[in-house]
């Protein structure tokens, strides 16, 4: 069990992800178990493998130009006042 990622580390990540852990212990235990399982990646012997990425030719992408949407999206915002989006204050 000493290889388990610590509760503190997981709590810290949760905080960074802006997640409040209410049912603390159950979440932490399950995340620990999942991470412990991910250790199997260590035995995949892929250290020397190159990471391939999907490439798309620029000429296959749509034209890089402004496309007017034509409909008001602002009405869908929950916290919209005047010309501004209302957000909670930053300390």
């Amino acid at each position: 069990m000493e290889n388990l990622v610590s509760e503190e580390e997981i709590s810290e990540v949760a905080k960074l992800m802006k997640i409040q852990l209410e049912d603390h212990s159950d979440h932490i235990t399950r995340v620990q178990k999942m991470l412990e399982y991910f250790d199997i990646l260590d035995s995949a012997n892929v250290e020397s493998e190159e990471i391939t990425v999907q490439e798309t030719d620029l000429d296959k992408l749509r034209n890089d130009k402004y496309n007017p949407y034509g409909k008001s999206l602002l009405k869908f915002l929950k916290n919209y006042q005047g010309k501004y989006v209302k957000a909670p204050k930053l300390n």
Partner: protein, 483 residues
């Protein structure tokens, strides 16, 4: 009127005047109101379905052009947007979210006169494989309502299996179309990555997920793929398939084709004996049809579940950042809250699995951990792609059981996160490599379905559907039990 008919038979029925669109849609809505209290396939039913049916009947009667679907009722997983209506992703966070635009697949179905009969249930944000993680309660398997229908497109699978509609659209990130197709005894196709536009699909892990059809027959999947596939300027990952007709020559058979039986997927620890027997029977069937089957090995397969969860959690962590109740969310006043605590508080409406995936998604790519998890997962993915490329130089198809086990009872698997993840063992390979894969209903054992998965090389949907059709023709499965 038989609500269990295929999409192609529905079209013939309308063309021959056997029934009207309104009659069929009314009966489908009646069926939904009768059985869906028990099954919970639908999160919402389209109030305008009858109106649309009448409009299409009018077009038919007055000899106007009518789209290929002739008003067939199709359900859609509730993570695809339809302008002006709710799209919840089975999450409380999006309980009242009204989509401001329509996804490309829905636009395409609409232009061919399909009627979207309702939005179906899923695991919250498509994260799960049983619908037990839906914030609105699970769907139930019509073959036995004590059992899960699979997921995450479980509502879609149930709606087709229980004859509540003709066909459905699901999305598949790690098996979310094929798993419920297998569990509910319907056909489920995950197309090649890029063949179907994802514009308007709420993203979970956009580098690997695809929308695809869930249908009563293989031909119906080909029919729907004809409609929904193709290049879309709103999704830069889409591929021009030159309007390929997937129904054409679907019955050419598979004589002389080479099939690889993926040994890692037919020898895994979690594989049930009944599922293995069914798979072995399907191999014999393929051989009788003239195909050559042999065992092959994909050495990266044992690492794919870990790689899949690492990659998808990372992408989910990023994609779900927008659900901060400022950009997307529900009515919850921010007055008096500090910025971070407001977002954390708002996110407490997210369900437990989504929260865990977001934590994982913050952890595995973070500085200090990326080398051990995320980068290694990407390397597994790269090596798996190389293996798949190599194997398709010699083989036409790969086969495996779609899911290593049959449907399980509610609550039976959910407690152990690792054995739960392993249920995805056979399906994630197609997502990580971008290849198409289909689940074909093959057997009912102990009253519950078993599906066989066939995979093909990228953009080989035509031959994949030919193989699936050849297999389907050999099976004669019982009707879904009356509910």
């Amino acid at each position: 009127m038989d609500l269990g008919i295929s999409a192609l038979n529905y079209v013939n029925g309308i063309r021959n005047g056997e029934f009207t669109v309104e009659e069929f849609v009314s009966k489908s809505l009646e069926r939904i109101s009768q059985v869906d209290k028990k099954l919970h396939a639908f999160l919402r039913v389209n109030d305008l379905a009858i109106k649309k049916a009448k409009e299409i009947d009018t077009k038919i009667k007055s000899n106007q052009d009518v789209g290929k679907c002739f008003g067939m009722p199709v359900s859609v997983k509730d993570n695809m947007c339809i302008e002006g209506s709710k799209t919840t992703c089975a999450s409380k966070v999006l309980e009242n979210f009204i989509a401001p635009y329509t996804s490309t697949v829905i636009t395409k179905l609409d232009s061919e006169d399909a009627i979207i009969i309702g939005k179906t249930n899923l695991d919250e944000f498509a994260m799960g494989l049983s619908t037990e993680f839906s914030a609105y309660g699970p769907s139930r398997n019509p073959w036995n309502t004590d059992y899960v229908p699979g997921g995450s497109s479980g509502g879609s699978g149930v709606s087709v299996s229980a004859n509540e509609c003709i066909a459905s659209l699901g999305s598949d990130t790690g098996g979310s179309i094929r798993n419920p197709a297998s569990f509910c005894s319907v056909v489920g196709l995950k197309p090649t990555y890029g063949l179907v536009s994802r514009y308007g699909l709420v993203s979970y892990a956009n580098s690997i997920e695809q929308i695809g059809p869930m249908t009563k027959t293989v031909k119906d999947s080909a029919f729907l793929l004809n409609i929904i596939s193709g290049i879309d300027s709103n999704d830069n990952t889409t591929i021009d398939n030159k309007n390929q007709d997937y129904l054409n020559d679907i019955d050419v058979g598979i004589s002389g084709k080479k099939i690889g039986i993926v040994s890692e997927m037919t020898n895994s620890d979690g594989l049930s004996a009944d599922v293995l027997n069914a798979t072995n029977e399907s191999v014999k069937t393929f051989e009788k049809l003239g195909a050559n089957c042999e065992q092959i090995s994909l050495q990266m397969v044992p690492y794919t579940v870990a790689a899949y969860y690492t990659i998808t959690s990372t992408e989910a962590g990023s994609n779900l950042a927008r659900f901060d109740n400022i950009r997307y969310g529900y009515d919850f006043d921010s007055a008096g809250f500090e910025f971070n605590s407001y977002i954390s508080q708002a996110r407490s409406k997210l369900g437990p699995e989504v929260i865990r995936r977001m934590i994982l998604g913050g952890f595995v790519p973070s500085a200090g951990h990326a080398g051990k998890y995320f980068l290694k997962a990407l390397k597994v993915k790269s090596k798996l792609i190389a293996e798949i490329n190599h194997v398709f130089e010699k083989f036409d198809f790969l086969i495996s059981p779609t899911v290593p086990i049959q449907p399980f009872k509610f609550g039976e698997k959910i407690q152990d996160p690792v054995s739960f993840m392993m249920i995805d063992f056979n399906t994630v390979t197609a997502n990580l490599t971008g290849i198409p894969a289909i689940s074909v209903p093959y057997k009912i054992t102990n009253g519950l379905p078993i599906g066989i998965q066939i995979m093909a090389n990228r953009l080989e949907e035509r031959s994949l559907l030919q193989a699936a059709y050849a297999l389907e023709k050999t099976v004669n499965l019982p009707e879904v039990p009356s509910l």
